[in-house]
Symmetry: D2
Subunit: 345 residues, 4 copies
């Protein structure tokens, strides 16, 4: 049994990690931390877990947690993670960081979009945690930078097309929409039910911090440097991200070929489902699961490919992918503890 | 491996049965029927199941299904179930019927609230399928009448109080609210998103067909005959039933005693959770799980007990309880295939 | 033109008052106050009002506001209103207070359920502002205590039955459910979209502060003293309150008589609609309007009357009723500025 | 008083027309038709209107309706409108058609995307009913082709930029999302609450019938021929359309200039609101109103302009714009009967 801890386990991502890890046969969840809820039972904060765990939140120093666990999940805001990850790394523990702190390979890009980076030293050891793209590297990593939710949906949606050099990369536009859980559990006016229900809006238009992360990975996939447009929207749902991605085709590929290429690219993958031709994903069909569903079409009138991808932002976009990364790290079957079917309706 | 079939598997309850049975280690799901979707893949109708099953809907006669399965779930409208159940019974198969056809022990009550009963002969063999109350009988049953969703929430909420003769039974009022999935997947105006979202209403006030079923079981528990008031409401949510139940106390019981009595009554039960004193259930804390959460208080000003119970109508209120009954029938651990934690948020 | 001000106009009720008063032909809205949003345009905080008003929030002393207005609406938390109302009263202005501070005629009851009352001196001048019941008194009032949202729905639902002595008053149970806007616009975890959507729960069971207010008015209507059970629930909708009210009948009244009695009681009322026999209200059918819809039935099996009433908590339950009270005070047509049809769907 | 009739008034658009026209001071609503609800009171089908109208649905021939009205609104499916409009035209009545039948000026385009056109003779007389663009022509029209909901949001969003030749027209992408009321009130599985709530999906990707309508008007505005990409999505809300529109800039315009240009273009317009710099529209801020809100930014990294526009699909996207067109036709103030503020929250 692997001894796991979650640092910062009081938000929605933390809760989802607890939920998944409690059902994971290879893991013993030994500690969950929270400053705000110190010494309160997890099940008091999240009554859905009542009867399923007797864990209480603790407020311990990273060094003390490092002594009792083999692997730690950091479900912390950016800026905080980089203060804490080095402690675990130094203690020889595996770290899966769900913040943005180790996702950007270029320190100056991080500092341009986020803030001063105080842990650049271990940045080079971090592996970007999309197993479908970096499985081999993750196996040997000590520090996995678990991807952002929007980036996961967009990168998986574009990877086969970019790898195969199908696209005019300067025409890529990703129009995404996320459920509210992506904004966390901190009370704020903009996340109130009355502000969100019945509404739909774009936000941080042209300046969302996931932009450089998406570009970093798309550039690597395409083997060239380019910028994209990325517009996030807020959906009146709890979970789910849908990305509708546009790009001009550089080549004369027909739709069946495109499907063949995507199916082949993801053939071995347990968590990527290519929708049958003519059908497109719905976030409600992946809810609660680690799936990424992808639909495709070519608009012959404009010679654009349109790719639609859907994930559950808390699972494949956060906690699920983190566990998937742990499974890779531990050489377990990649879907261990992640076999839950989507909940529908 | 038990060979199971689902007769009438194209609705929300049918889908939920499929979802649960696909993850059940003791069951091989061999057939699912649907007239409307004959020969279509289940995953085409329910894309959430894409990649998880290659089953196709078939449109076969009961006798033919009986030949290939050990146990059958009937997820059919009342009136249809009683035409089909006898075929399986006669073939020596176990039947778990999710309709109302075998729930009422008194044929004339059935005929007063529903329609002519054409299968009264096997009615006496049917066991009412709340394992928490009828576990021993279910073990030996061939025909389990799986309870209605509202009745499950109300009966479990009242059982300890009635068994202990605490209540003035003529003052019982059950005020319940259900998610829309309870109305099924047939297209009808009243279930449209625009009719339901932002709304809340009472319906079938004083005449819902679950009333006699609730009264039958409450009368048995109390050992006397009485009528109750039951008012269902329609909630703008997909899943969940909350019942707020009122009754005058006959005795001078204090709240801590009441909690002790409930906790003791359900001590061995895996699926009933008594909320800690001062807290009350929320349907979102049982969503996707087989739990029934129960909260209690005594209103000293009026000497009334107020009991609030919550279930997921598709799980503990239908498919989950059906699988729980199967587990009892098969002498398996009662939570086999039912260990999923509620999905939250 | 009447010069009106709103003290505490930054919440949902304040916004609704602004929205209604901007369309009121007899009113000039001269000032809206907010400490938090001082000097910000109203339309910046509520973009729905963009282009409709150039008002900015001010943070002025009550005495200064009193100099520039004829009437003031206090949309403040209880405890604050009673510090501010006296200033306006002394300045000879009309006050419509939307807090609980002047609703309870008995100071000790107020202090038992709320807090120390510091303005008991003017309490006796306050008129409880349900125009359907206190129209004559409101005409001459200087201080109107605008009712709570739950009380409005329950009192209007029971008034005809109680006035006509039909009920065994000790059996009255009011089971209510409210939209989230009733909890205000202050950021708090329990009002977050992810906490509310897909959920339904009872809260403050047996101890909600509206209980004594409801009892005060029901006791007056019935001419005797009694307690009721009142259970509020939280609905995943923005607006609306539905109350399902139960009581045993004391007399042998038939349903058509009951309808006749209710229709006659509310015959002259513009804002109370008795649903046609067999139909019951839905909060979505009153959304955005000042209507209170009432449905009725008698459960012959239990000899209970069941009354269902629906209002929009922000309109008839708060801002709309406040404007209705102003209209009465000013001797205007009672529906001036309140003729908006419900918005549907 | 203008005598108005609504042909096909049983859907959501029909209901919205009734709601608006009942509050319109210049209109006497003399007839509403419905085959399905013949002889039923409107308020029975739409209880929100109870007490506000005693109109009953009739099932009369167009010629008979033409005898009693001055103007008719056709809220019918495409294909049916063109059978009925000519009757009213011939009788010398004004027609505002809310279907697609007279929107496309080119018959062959209509027949490619819809079906055989049987009323091409009067097509040339039809005026496309966006008053902001065609006000003068509408004044003298007998037949107004009321625009589609998606086209309204996209055309208004792009008009100033195209008129001023700012865009590389071959790069235009419109990514839109609509509330469910756009799908009408006919019962269908895909509009059920359980199918929509918690979901988000793209549909008719690359082939929605509004595409040629959008292109027709954008081409006219730009003075050249081009195709666009348009992707509609289904939102779990009742009302509202948000369009996020992308295009490469052809010129080096700065953001303040762009705002100035948009503000100037719509300076005289009562129903178009340009959001303050840095803020973007939300469908909840236009709900129930005839406003179109527009937000703007320039993504300097990609040299793309991003325009976000929001309308209520049932108001500015259908019934409200129809009434606005009637006001223009009748030489009334353009906002007569349309002054309702958005309802929020």
């Amino acid at each position: 049994m692997m001894k796991a801890a979650i640092f910062g386990a009081s938000g929605y991502t933390g809760q989802e990690l607890i939920r998944i890890l409690l059902g994971h046969p290879g893991v013993d969840l030994v500690a969950v931390t929270s400053r705000r809820f110190e010494s309160k039972p997890v099940a008091e904060i999240f009554p859905s877990l009542y009867g399923l765990t007797s864990l209480k939140y603790i407020n311990a120093a990273p060094a003390d947690i490092a002594k009792i666990c083999d692997i730690v999940f950091l479900a912390l805001p950016h800026g905080i993670s980089m203060e804490i990850a080095p402690v675990f790394i130094q203690a020889g523990k595996k770290v899966i960081d769900l913040s943005a702190d180790y996702r950007l390979r270029d320190v100056s890009t991080y500092e341009e979009w986020y803030a001063k980076h105080t842990s650049a030293g271990i940045l080079k050891d971090a592996v970007y945690g999309i197993p479908e793209l970096y499985r081999q590297k993750i196996k040997d990593a000590t520090l996995v930078a678990n991807p952002g939710c929007y980036p996961t949906s967009i990168i998986l949606g574009l990877a086969p097309a970019l790898k195969n050099r199908l696209l005019d990369v300067n025409t890529i536009i990703a129009d995404s929409a996320s459920g509210v859980s992506g904004a966390g559990r901190e009370p704020q006016t903009s996340s109130l039910f009355c502000e969100v229900d019945g509404g739909f809006k774009a936000y941080k238009v042209g300046k969302h911090r996931h932009t450089p992360e998406i570009e970093q990975e798309l550039n690597i996939l395409a083997g060239e440097k380019f910028a994209i447009s990325f517009t996030p929207h807020l959906l009146p749902v709890k979970r789910g991200i849908l990305s509708t991605i546009y790009a001009n085709l550089k080549t004369d590929i027909a739709l069946p070929e495109l499907y063949a290429l995507y199916s082949s690219f993801y053939k071995q993958e347990k968590f990527v489902r290519i929708c049958p031709p003519g059908s497109f994903p719905n976030i409600s069909a992946v809810c609660g699961s680690n799936f990424c569903d992808i639909g495709l079409t070519i608009d012959l009138r404009t010679k654009r490919v349109i790719i639609v991808s859907a994930i559950d932002n808390l699972v494949k976009g956060a906690a699920g992918q983190a566990v998937q990364n742990m499974n890779v790290l531990c050489n377990w079957e990649e879907d261990t503890g992640l076999q839950m079917a989507p909940i529908y309706p």
